[in-house]
Every structure is written in structure tokens, then in C-alpha cells.
């Protein structure tokens, strides 16, 4: 594989992982939330690179558009203490490193299909919509119920109690 064809992958991977690392380690909550947005944009670029353009756009709309704004609003509403914490939880760092080592070990021992993927027709919104409305109609309805319940639950939980 030539260097030029792998360059977009490397750039996107670096952006995604740098954003994720910043989100996991920066002490300031707001900085971490904005780094999370960078990481989500990287994941969306991965989806587009893999040929799932619609999934990438949904990632941008749902995560960058809605979830990030929700997190920022919550940070502003709760104003958490910015003061120095009790330092790093080093046993947690060890646990995360152990999980990473285990995952990469499993990946190194697995033989994955190498080379280029099978060529397919572009994944259009029309096709996704038709599949959602025929094959996936019951999962779609169930997700609708779940989202309604989540919406009502979030409003009830966050509502000011009138005494």
C-alpha cells in the first residue's frame, strides 16, 4: 500500500486519538468537552472514509451537534469545582493500560481479512430509509419508544421540584 493512500487514515487517526487523549486527561472540564468534539469529528471522518457517509453525518449531527452542546450546558449549569483534585488515580491508569494491552494482544493474534474490501454500491440515504422502513421497522419503532421514554425521563429528572 502506498504512502499516499494511507495518509488520510493516519491524519484522521492522529486527530481522533489526540482529541480523545485530551478529553481523558485535561483538568478543565470545558477544554475536555471541546476536545471530545474534535475526537467525535475524527470518528465521523472514519465513517465517511469507510464508505458509511450517512452514519458519519449522523455522528456529526447527533454527537457534535446535540450531545456536545448538552455536555457544555450541563457544565455551565452545574459549575463544578475547578480546584485541584486529589491527583491522579494511578490504579485506574493501570487498569486502562491493562485493557489496552489485552485488546491489542487479541488484535495481534487475530488474522483479519487483509487488502481492499469488496466494492459495493454507495450507501445512499434512499437505501437506508427503505431498509429502515421495511426490514428494520420494529427496531425503528422500539428506538422511537426508547427515545420518548428518555426524553420524558430527562425532563422529569432535571425539572425543578415545586414544594
Amino acid at each position: 500500500m502506498s504512502l499516499l493512500s494511507i495518509l488520510p487514515f493516519v491524519v484522521i487517526a492522529v486527530i481522533t486519538l489526540a482529541g480523545a487523549l485530551a478529553a481523558a486527561t485535561l483538568p478543565n472540564l470545558m477544554h475536555a468537552a471541546l476536545s471530545l468534539v474534535l475526537s467525535f469529528l475524527g470518528v465521523a471522518a472514519f465513517f465517511i472514509l469507510l464508505g458509511a457517509e450517512f452514519v458519519g453525518l449522523v455522528q456529526v449531527i447527533v454527537y457534535v451537534g446535540a450531545v456536545a452542546v448538552l455536555i457544555v450546558f450541563t457544565i455551565l449549569l452545574t459549575r463544578p469545582a475547578v480546584g485541584p483534585g486529589k491527583g491522579r488515580n494511578w490504579s485506574g491508569v493501570l487498569v486502562a493500560m491493562a485493557v489496552l494491552a489485552g485488546l491489542l494482544w487479541a488484535l495481534a493474534r487475530t488474522t483479519l481479512p487483509a487488502g481492499q474490501p469488496i466494492a459495493i454500491a454507495p450507501l445512499t440515504v434512499l437505501r437506508i430509509g427503505q431498509t429502515l422502513m421495511t426490514e428494520y421497522i420494529w427496531p425503528l419503532q422500539a428506538v422511537g419508544v426508547v427515545l420518548t421514554a428518555a426524553l420524558v425521563g430527562a425532563v422529569v429528572l432535571a425539572m425543578e421540584e415545586k414544594r
Binding site: 493512500s5 494511507i6 487514515f9 487517526a13 486519538l17 480523545a20 478529553a23 481523558a24 472540564l29 471530545l36 475526537s39 467525535f40 472514519f46 465513517f47 472514509l49 469507510l50 458509511a52 450517512f54 452514519v55 447527533v62 454527537y63 450531545v67 448538552l70 455536555i71 450546558f73 450541563t74 449549569l77 463544578p80 469545582a81 486529589k86 488515580n89 485506574g92 487498569v95 486502562a96 493500560m97 485493557v99 489496552l100 491489542l104 488484535l107 483479519l112 481479512p113 487483509a114 474490501p117 469488496i118 459495493i120 437505501r127 437506508i128 428494520y136 427496531p139 428506538v143 426508547v146 427515545l147 421514554a149 428518555a150 426524553l151 425521563g153 430527562a154 425532563v155 429528572l157 432535571a158
Partner: protein, 103 residues
């Protein structure tokens, strides 16, 4: 086009960074951020294995990723509402101070 092993490796690292945020941070909002990162890593796996699998003409992986995103959005809304509710009662979002049930 990216090689499959590379995408899976990125997904592994992203998952571990999310786990790092969940287990080392003391603020509930940070823990939710970590969970979001782990969910994004899972979605990345779904789409990568769909595209490189033997039957990419069936769009199962992309569909699964879309549904997982919808569930994750609902989970985030509930989680942040819980954080706001806890803050209103206890004036803190530090999970280590929420130890009323501790024996």
C-alpha cells in the same frame, strides 16, 4: 481506504482512553464523556467490520451503528439530567462525595 487492522487498532485505543476517563476522573460529567468515547469506539468497530466483512452489500453494520447512536443519545440525555439533579440536591458533581449509601 484504511486497512481493517488499523481501524480496529484505533478503535481499541479510543476505547481504552474512554475507560481511562471513566476510571480515573472524579467528576460525573467526565465519566459520561468517557462512556461516550467507548460507545464511539464500538460504533467504529461495527462499521469497519461491516465494510470489510464478506457481505457488505447487506447494510447491517451501518444500521446497527445508527441504532446504537440513537440509544447512546438517549443515555447521554438521561445521564446529564441525573448529573443536574444530583447537583441540585448535593451541590457537587464529584462522585466520591456521593457516599450517603456507604455503610
Amino acid at each position: 481506504m484504511a486497512p481493517l487492522a488499523g481501524v480496529i487498532a484505533v478503535s481499541c485505543v479510543l476505547f481504552s482512553l474512554g475507560l481511562l476517563a471513566v476510571v480515573t476522573r472524579r467528576d460525573a460529567i467526565f465519566i459520561l464523556i468517557g462512556i461516550e468515547m467507548m460507545l464511539a469506539a464500538g460504533n467504529l468497530n461495527l462499521v469497519a467490520f461491516w465494510r470489510y466483512g464478506p457481505h457488505p452489500e447487506q447494510i447491517t453494520g451501518a444500521m446497527m451503528a445508527i441504532f446504537a447512536m440513537a440509544i447512546a443519545a438517549g443515555e447521554t440525555a438521561i445521564g446529564l439530567a441525573l448529573v443536574i439533579s444530583v447537583y441540585r440536591h448535593r451541590r457537587t458533581t464529584q462522585v466520591e462525595e456521593l457516599n450517603t449509601l456507604k455503610g
